[in-house]
Amino acid sequence: MTDTTLTLDRNTSQPILIRERKSGQHWLWLLLAGAYLALPAIGNEYWLNAIVVPFLILSLAGIGLNILTGYAGQTSLGSGGFMAVGAFATYAFLLHLQLTFPVALFLGGVIAALVGFLFGLPSAKIKGFYLMVTSLAAQFFLEWLFLKVPWFYNYSSSATISAPRLDAFGINLSNSLGKYYLVLTVVAVLTWVAVNLVRSQTGRNWMAVRDMDTAAAVAGIRINHSKILAFAISSFYLGVAGALWTFAYLGSAGVQSFGLSRSFQILFIIIIGGLGSISGCFIGAAFISLLPLALDVIAQTLFAGRVDAGLLQNIQKAIFGALIIWFLIKEPDGMARLISNWRSRLSIWPLRF
């Protein structure tokens, strides 16, 4: 990830110039190569399917919400609902049009974007808490819709959907390695798009609207257009994440997988990871997927199974809540900022000027 830093240049006469730090980029390529080649070789199937795949999908969902909340400044509690739209729309394309999975996935995302566009329309008139009502209306209505209208889950008695087949242009992806590569590729491509998007004019418009909408309007930015675009693109990401969550991670899922608690989970990912940071989504998602595991290990070693699962879940809940409050107080920019602070401190260590 490149980020722009303001540095004092002591050698030239210009006092301040904006320098692009590109040093991180080759690390990124290395990481990607590692994810493609090394990880499947060293990680066992459990790790890939139960930890890495959900982590990647949650990161993608985090990017979706971060575009809306972190960049465009519109709070939403409807992420779960939009994920459900993506999942059920992809299912419909797979089932009725017999499309290959990547195409169905893309179209599912487009449908989610349309629904997001629709529920984003009120953002032209209202903001803040009031806008949250719109997103909650979307969440509850969509949950109800995908439960009450049996057409969406093809009249199955369990009200769940599962992919008829998982293939990309003839390549079978239904084994665990195939699912992993599918998720990794989709997440890598969409992350690359998101990184460029938030640095483009569109992304800068979003940030201007977030920071002060009146000033943005004065500067000639079409605020409503920007906000609604953010809703649509955010929903596209969430929809794709929802479809992957259903077909590549869970295998079969009902609308219960996309309830309000999912929306909260995604929101927590971006608060912990960092509002307005793409890398923060990955950090937050890693944190939220690894913390339960870590707590489990600690409980096992310290109390040797005397702590029951229900209590552990409640402890985990309390810790998440406390962390949210702690981050909001101490580091509103999340772990992404914490890590970049450490990095810049390390880069001048031990000779601070």
């Binding site: 008139k125 209202i126 808490f129 009502v133 109800w144 009450k148 229900g310 409640n314 809540g321 409050i325």
Partner: protein, 293 residues
């Protein structure tokens, strides 16, 4: 016609429960500008604590004292650890902090007192009675009367006591209140305690109906549309909003529900609130806020 009236009255009475929860929101919002998402989990916590004490054999009136004390302690801790460090931050940040707070309170409440459903008997028979030829739930009637009494007590406190007057001063103009020497932090603690107690009342009534359990905390989700309709800053608005939501929800479920599959109460209130937002964004009794550049 009888069916219509019964549905309407049933809805109105259920709406008083929403009102009770919404009043807690309004109190906190007026005094500290926080939209307190944790109201639902505080309600769950206090009801759960009360029921646990009852089950331990402590009589009803005596169990109230430690419960209210616990609410007060919680209010002070919240003020210390959450509100004070977040002073002057954006309303959205504060809201997200209360979201985290709700997780903490729920986790602690359920971790310490279990996640089982507790039956709660507060001595009100849940039998329907006939008023004329209308069938009305006696329990709902008692709940409604409790709500009215509670609001009357609150109104008296706000009107007559020193604390109440300083509360109103803070709500009116925080800076002016500070400059005349009102201790803002103390006011916050008191307001959160009072809101917690209204939550306790709502939690006990609601818990007597359907058992004290986790789903109690979800009542917070109904309070949001109630506040949008009634206005964020008016207690009277919260009551009217609760009644409107309760009645229309019940009517919609009875008359529209059968045609589109039922179960529409989960989202109906939100669509009603959206409708209100476009017609009257400040709610029926909300103060008109003017945004200037």
């Amino acid at each position: 016609m009888t069916l219509f009236l019964e549905t309407l009255i049933g809805g109105l009475l259920a709406g008083t429960m929403y009102s009770l929860v919404a009043i807690g929101f309004v109190l906190i919002y007026k005094a500290s500008g926080v939209f307190n998402f944790a109201q639902g989990s505080i309600l769950l916590f206090s009801a759960l604590l009360f029921v646990t004490l009852l089950e331990a054999g402590i009589p009803f009136a005596l169990a109230l004292i430690p419960t209210i004390a616990a609410i007060a302690i919680m209010a002070v801790l919240i003020e210390w650890w959450v509100l004070r460090p977040l002073t002057n931050r954006s309303a959205m940040t504060l809201f997200m902090a209360t979201l985290g707070l709700s997780y903490v309170v729920e986790g602690v409440a359920q971790g310490a007192m279990g996640a089982n459903v507790h039956a709660l008997d507060i001595g009100i028979p849940d039998l329907p009675i006939f008023v004329g030829d209308l069938l009305i739930s006696q329990f709902d009637l008692v709940a409604a009367i409790t709500a009215i009494v509670l609001v009357a007590i609150l109104a008296l406190i706000f009107d007559r006591t020193r604390i109440g007057i300083s509360l109103r001063a803070v709500a009116d103009d925080t800076r002016a209140a500070l400059s005349v020497g009102i201790n803002l932090n103390r006011i916050w603690q008191i307001v959160w305690t009072v809101a917690g107690i209204t939550g306790l009342v709502a939690g006990l009534l609601w818990g007597a109906r359907q058992g004290v359990q986790f789903s109690l905390s979800l009542v917070v989700l109904k309070a949001l549309p109630v506040l949008i309709i009634g206005g964020f800053t008016s207690i009277f608005g919260a009551i009217i909003g609760g009644l409107i939501v309760g009645a229309s929800e019940n009517l919609a479920e009875a008359y529209i529900g059968p045609y589109i599959g039922g179960g529409i109460t989960s989202w109906f209130a939100y669509f009603l609130a959206l409708l209100f937002l476009f017609i009257r964004p400040t709610g029926i009794f909300g103060e008109r806020t003017i945004q200037r550049v």
